[in-house]
Symmetry: C2
Subunit: 413 residues, 2 copies
């Protein structure tokens, strides 16, 4: 058996659903025991001539001063030299410790990715091909189509998140019937563009439907906006933890999250993929992911990784994050208030960065009229709605934003 076949055999005996869900590329992927492995063994050699870096020969970095002048309070080795495949080990451990504060089901060591998009893309590489039915939220992030459909080649289906301004409690039961041989289901709370997070009671029929499903499937929890909740009583921790609480062997659970929104480090491009499993399955999936990333980007930026690691160890992190959460909440409350005063109807929202305003008429025409009045929003003609990113709107601008939208919607008719 070659290396890929050995990994596949491990998955078949320890997690048949993970094995059954692998794409054609996922089946042939492995992590070669090449230079990174030999370099690992030579780490403590007095003379280490294994790695193609230009160093002082004693393990210290020799960055150009033109680069290093921009790095403060971090070691130059950690920021300018290669990190191991899969990411900075201390960072991965710190992210795992963070996840363990919200759930205690089986969990793999978080695998560091280039932001959340890359986590979704690696999972698509491993689990999506022409034989995969991919179930995506509607409304949902447009880039899912590009990742799982155009690039991944999967059959795309959309399931509703809301029906008549209520959480669509039977959506997943219906959606799962579309799976022919194997599936990928993406859950996204708080949602983009809905800004909606369900309560635990609302979520229960979705969890139950997933637990009942008899087709092999990968459930991906896209937790990009984790933590940005503005009302009480909402499902606080990721659905990932709910699903891995009672793991089922026909479901492989994956969590995609990262520093992008949670730590307000949009440009840093640091994300993670974590599976809700352990033991031999975890090792085999780590090898598959490592090979896939090695053949794609090698690793995320060491500089960004070191900054995120330092922030995770910063005793002031929690208070700095709550300040930003409060800012988000203030904008959220201001927007709710302004919408109500203007008598403008809006899809239910309670979290995240966005709100959706339904529009009767030409949505893109409305967007262009608003642009002329100095107001930028995103038009979703397919959802007959515009999206307001209140996360990037100053609180004092929100009332004007809303009255301008209300006026132009009036003018549309």
């Amino acid at each position: 058996m070659d290396a890929a076949q050995t990994l596949n055999a491990t998955l078949e005996s320890h997690h048949p659903a993970a094995a059954a869900c692998l794409s054609r590329v996922g089946k042939r992927m492995f992590f070669p025991m090449g230079i990174p492995a030999q370099a690992g063994e030579a780490k403590s050699a007095a003379i280490n001539a294994t790695i193609g870096q230009l160093t002082d020969g004693r393990g210290s970095a020799l960055p150009l001063p033109a680069i290093s002048k921009h790095i403060a309070n971090l070691s130059l080795e950690q920021t300018t030299l290669y990190t191991p495949q899969g990411g900075n080990k201390d960072l991965r451990a710190a992210w795992l410790a963070k996840l363990k504060t919200t759930g205690d089901g089986p969990m793999t060591l978080p695998f560091c990715t280039v932001g959340l998009t890359h986590g979704l893309s690696l999972l698509a590489d491993l689990f999506v091909d022409e034989e995969t039915d991919v179930l995506l939220p509607n409304p949902g992030w447009g880039n899912y189509d590009l990742i799982f459909g155009v690039r991944g080649g999967g059959r795309i289906h959309r399931y509703p998140v809301l029906k008549n301004d209520q959480f669509a409690h039977d959506a997943i039961d219906d959606a799962l019937s579309a799976i022919d041989t194997k599936g990928v289901l993406v859950l996204n709370f708080p949602g983009n563009p809905t800004g909606y997070t369900p309560t635990a009671a609302e979520l229960k029929p979705w969890i139950d439907a997933i637990q009942r499903c008899t087709k092999p499937m990968v459930v991906i929890c896209d937790d990009a906006y984790h933590g940005f909740l503005y009302e009480s009583g909402l499902q606080e921790r990721s659905v990932f933890h709910e699903l891995s609480q009672t793991p089922r062997h026909n479901v492989l659970t994956a969590k995609v999250d990262g520093a992008t929104k949670e730590m307000c480090f949009f440009g840093g491009r640091v994300g993670f993929v974590t599976f809700g499993t352990d033991g031999a399955t975890a090792d085999a999936l780590e090898a598959k992911l490592k090979g896939m990333a090695r053949a794609n980007i090698s690793t995320a930026s060491a500089t960004s990784q070191a900054m995120v690691l330092s922030a995770l160890n910063n005793p002031n992190l929690a208070s700095q994050q709550s300040e930003l959460l409060e800012l988000g909440r203030d904008r959220y409350l201001c927007l709710k208030d302004a919408l109500s005063k203007a008598g403008l109807s809006c899809s239910p929202f309670n979290s995240g960065f966005f709100a959706l305003v339904p529009v009767n008429g030409d949505v893109d025409a409305l967007r262009k009229r608003l642009l002329k009045r100095g107001v930028g929003v995103v038009a979703f003609p397919q959802h007959k709605a515009i999206r307001i990113a209140f996360s990037s709107t100053a609180i004092e601008d929100i009332p004007v934003l809303v009255t301008t939208i209300a006026e132009e919607i009036e003018n549309l008719v």
Copy 2:
């Protein structure tokens, strides 16, 4: 016609070879006019509620102090907010200006990638599938197999770089005959692991063979080690420039390079893809690349990109780079001298980071014996050689390194 078909039609009429070389995924890829496009139009709106970033609402970043304390002498907007798809525009322009100092053939705006691996991987996504014959140097970087073969699904062929310790002048003529319908040819000078760069005269039969080829093909110049030349008379500028000097419509030329080695910023993960073409072909390829990257990683780290941009604009960059080049040359000369004194034979090398020492016998056993004596090298059993990364060896260690290798090779027999 949908967006992808429009791009394909453009390529068919303006660059038939580029069109003929597209993979199945490459054919269906496009860049959707979604949120990034709408956000672009709203850039000067007084109230811009388009992008899902948490900002002050006036375009300024609100990073956590736990993150921003590590950034020095750079704007927080440039380092912590999203960069445009394809990369920081000033950075792309600065890299193009740099390329134009060495060649003046047609050239696209360099597309920013997550290091060089990502550039190769994006090109594999666009141009490699089961119908592609991929011609790779031998000896060559092991990760090419993972990128183009295991992940990309192409048919891998290896062509020799050296024959009997001479540059293999007829290698490409022979190699090109393996192309069935469409091909990808990877050229890598200075080479990993050979450390070899040919002279212009040695290179000429390779260029001629490429110009004569009648099958559609993409030539990828992997210029990772660009600039690290230690002897005079070698081919100084990239083969990319030689090929785009007299562009042929059955050959699409691509250059993959970046800050990783050239600017000694290994962990930064900033690379570029540039095509040797212009006009409508350039626009169509930019849209294909943008879509592929958007479905994969979105963008490279803004932090790393801003640092590379600043370094490119630094008046001391050239002198700082030559210091590192001199360090590399000193180690190179010391290694040549030590090899000769020890009577140890070595494949010809004159550039880059590596040298290959041929081994009669069990190469991995030799590696393990050396490890026991505190010396780390990489074993290539398939090439019957070990690789010495003199780039990461202190000059005072090189004589001991060589005598230890010589002794253990003696002991092997």
